[in-house]
Subunit: 455 residues, 2 copies
């Protein structure tokens, strides 16, 4: 793949010292970073490609730790409704109606939105037709951890979603065998546990054991809604995290997502067991409530950021999500210093990598790390002036400022053009395919305003 | 100016029936809308310009009811600090250091950001060098209500900001005489009252009287911070809105901004006196707390949306602000139906116009209204699919989706290019001028991360 030299940028390395290099360079050799900051002139001279990035910032590609690729075509189909309507009448029917090819397109569309917001790595939250997702991720050039949501109990779910435990485990293992380590290691497989509502203790324990044996992770929605606390106490005698602790299921390879309704004791348990977490600010604000992120950070819990799925947000956009994370905790705590911009940027990069068990290879820019990075251009009326690059990135910039990105040493996007897919062809297809799925699912939205068809 | 025909769009008219025209047209004649929906073919044939908008939406230009144009160059200079630092060490020194020409550039830069987020009308919150702002607004082609913040008492403010009441009133009247009704009526002048901390009762009453006499509005920060409630009770014996009521200063031409710390009685008073309000969601989340917007809407208070100034947000972007407004009240009330997307869109258009006392001429698209409108293109990975145009606009779109806009029948932007300024020249100047103001103000930011200068 050769060498690429990125020149004259402000580099937010997010390395262990969090160094910011002004007017610095990054040398990429094949899939790895060969140098950051000052590059040996002899090496620089031999670069196959030299890109002048004057006025730009370079930073690690963003890590989105909770993405429902199966919900991308459902965007805007479940706004302003209660959670039961959201689940039973919109999201579950919609996801159930997806074909394998719908899911392939859904992942491509989602992937393009992620790439255009600077994401180079994401964690699938547990969707449909994961082989199609694997194919799409392979083609998109992203780094991802795939996942199926396991469910072996619970009511009201679409036919076939709840299955016997052995079937569920075998399906997960099959996905693992087919995809783990594929695409040059860009694709891995984690095991999914939907929620405490839908997973027996036996399934939880078996899933965690399988993940430990295969040295991979477990992705689970935890303490998501207030009702979950009541349900867990009633059926298990303890709230979710406490119960997971009693089962021995807490550990460094568990990614607990949402974590809105935690007790102080549960925050301590997460820290004690080095459980990883994913804060989804928009979804929290839309349905769930606030997550105790400042408290978790104070206790040393590893907190990353996820966008959740399109109908929960509706932005599958880590730049937008960083802005939200920087705001909402200040308002809740009446503390303008709660969750500062530098902390938010850490959550979206190094902590994201840590929460996906990949901080030895991604999430920061230093010699030997994978070449996963983004180029940001602040030259726009919405971003200038830049008095502080970190403030600007988190508080003032948009996905539209993300000019280019690279994963595994390969350009995914240059000048806003995603290079790994046929963007226009894909944009042409999204609406018609989404409409077809909606019709098959039998979902009709009540119009908000009276519609007059002129012709 | 001739006639312009916009064809084949989804038109969100926001008229009294809130009609949505599918595949509809808008005919603009000079500065007014001549027809919406179906246009008489004979009239259509005679249009000077025909624009095909297949796949686009057309809606009223957005109304931003609280904008500090004097703070545009301060963006990102006061993040993650307490309110006293924000005021005393950053914002006040910065604003005081602005020259007349800085303010002209500041307003141009702010105006471009507003235009690129679909804004056609804004209310100045009360800034420096308002004659420069007037010149800039005249050139930008926006509609605006200028305003100086009056202060005749209070401590800790920069030299010259607090002055004797007669001087303050004369300054306001002077601005009114020079600018009210100028630029073909696009520019008007309101009177400003900074806060209850900085305005004597005599000033409040005299300002309201002058506004009533001249049939214009009063723009005031009200119930902004928790401390204000204590201060008002201590010095006036009642909280701000109650005290304004006792002074006879509540009325339909008062725009109360922020309104975070209202009692239930104060919400009732606002409704009773038809006081207009401006909800600034990002500023609220960053510093102030939540505003009781769902409660205010239930009581029939006229609530509009403002972005506040750049260092309070940092997005001077009504598309971003609509998204925030749609989210944060849901999270606070754990009610996913709190402040629905259609309500948010009303707040940003018709209610914005009403709060600026202009709903007889802007804020909706129907025959005879001023031709202030925006064209939105959803064709992007962050917005498609569109299952519901209102959900998509509020929940999924960005300023980057705003393709074109028109104010007073004149194109301000086409295909993202602002036509009324030299965009590139202005972008070249923002950073250097902002740096110069910052240096004159003596503001040095502590670096968040260690900086290494490579060359």
């Amino acid at each position: 793949m050769g060498t690429i030299l990125l020149r004259n940028a402000t580099i937010l390395s997010m390395d262990s010292e969090r160094r910011v290099f002004e007017n610095g360079d990054v040398l990429v050799r094949d899939d790895r970073i060969a140098a950051v900051g000052a590059v040996d002139p002899a090496e620089a001279d031999q670069a196959d490609e030299v890109v002048d990035l004057t006025g730009r910032m370079v930073l690690p590609g963003l890590v989105n730790t909770h993405v429902h690729t199966s919900q991308q075509l459902e965007r805007g189909l479940a706004d302003d409704v209660d959670l039961l309507t959201w689940l039973h009448d919109r999201t579950w029917p919609f996801e159930s109606a997806l074909t394998e090819e719908d899911q392939y397109l859904s992942t491509l569309a989602c992937g393009c939105e992620l790439i255009r917001s600077g994401v180079t790595t994401f964690a699938e939250a547990g969707g449909q037709h994961m082989d199609a997702t694997g194919r799409a991720v392979e083609n998109l050039g992203l780094r991802a951890r795939l996942c199926i949501s396991s469910m072996d109990c619970g009511e009201g779910l679409p036919e076939g979603w709840v299955r016997p435990i052995q079937e569920v485990l075998a399906e997960q293992k099959g996905l693992y065998d087919r995809w783990h380590g594929k695409a040059g290691g860009r694709i891995g497989v984690w095991f999914g546990l939907r929620t405490i509502f839908n997973c027996s203790d036996e399934l939880i324990v078996a899933t965690k054991d399988m993940a430990d044996t295969l040295q991979t992770g477990v992705h689970m929605h935890v303490a998501e809604i207030q009702e979950e606390v009541r349900f867990a106490r009633q059926t298990r005698g303890a709230s979710t995290v406490e119960h997971l602790g009693a089962l021995g299921a807490l550990g460094p390879n568990l990614l607990a997502v949402h974590h809105v309704w935690l007790t102080a004791k549960e925050v301590d348990l997460l820290a004690l067991h080095d459980v990883k977490t994913s804060h989804n600010a928009a979804a929290a604000m839309r349905y769930l409530g606030f997550a105790p992120v400042p408290e978790m950070l104070r206790k040393g819990v590893a907190v990353s950021i996820g966008t959740d799925g399109a109908p929960s947000n509706n932005h599958m956009d880590m730049m937008s999500e960083m802005y939200l994370v920087s705001l909402i905790h200040k308002g809740r705590h009446l503390d303008p210093c709660a969750v500062t911009a530098d902390k938010v940027l850490e959550m979206a990069t190094v902590m994201g990598a840590r929460c996906m068990l990949m901080d030895d290879s991604i999430g920061s820019l230093s010699e030997g790390m994978k070449a996963d990075l983004m180029v940001v251009n602040p030259r726009d009326f919405g971003s200038l002036p830049v008095h502080d690059p970190v403030s600007a990135l988190v508080g003032a910039m948009y996905s539209a400022n993300v000019e280019s990105s690279m994963c595994d040493g390969r350009w995914l996007m240059r000048d806003r053009k995603v290079l790994t897919v046929d963007m226009e062809g894909l944009l042409d297809e999204i609406q018609s395919r989404a409409d077809a799925v909606r019709r098959r699912a039998g979902i009709e939205l009540p119009p908000r305003f009276p519609v007059v068809r002129v012709r």
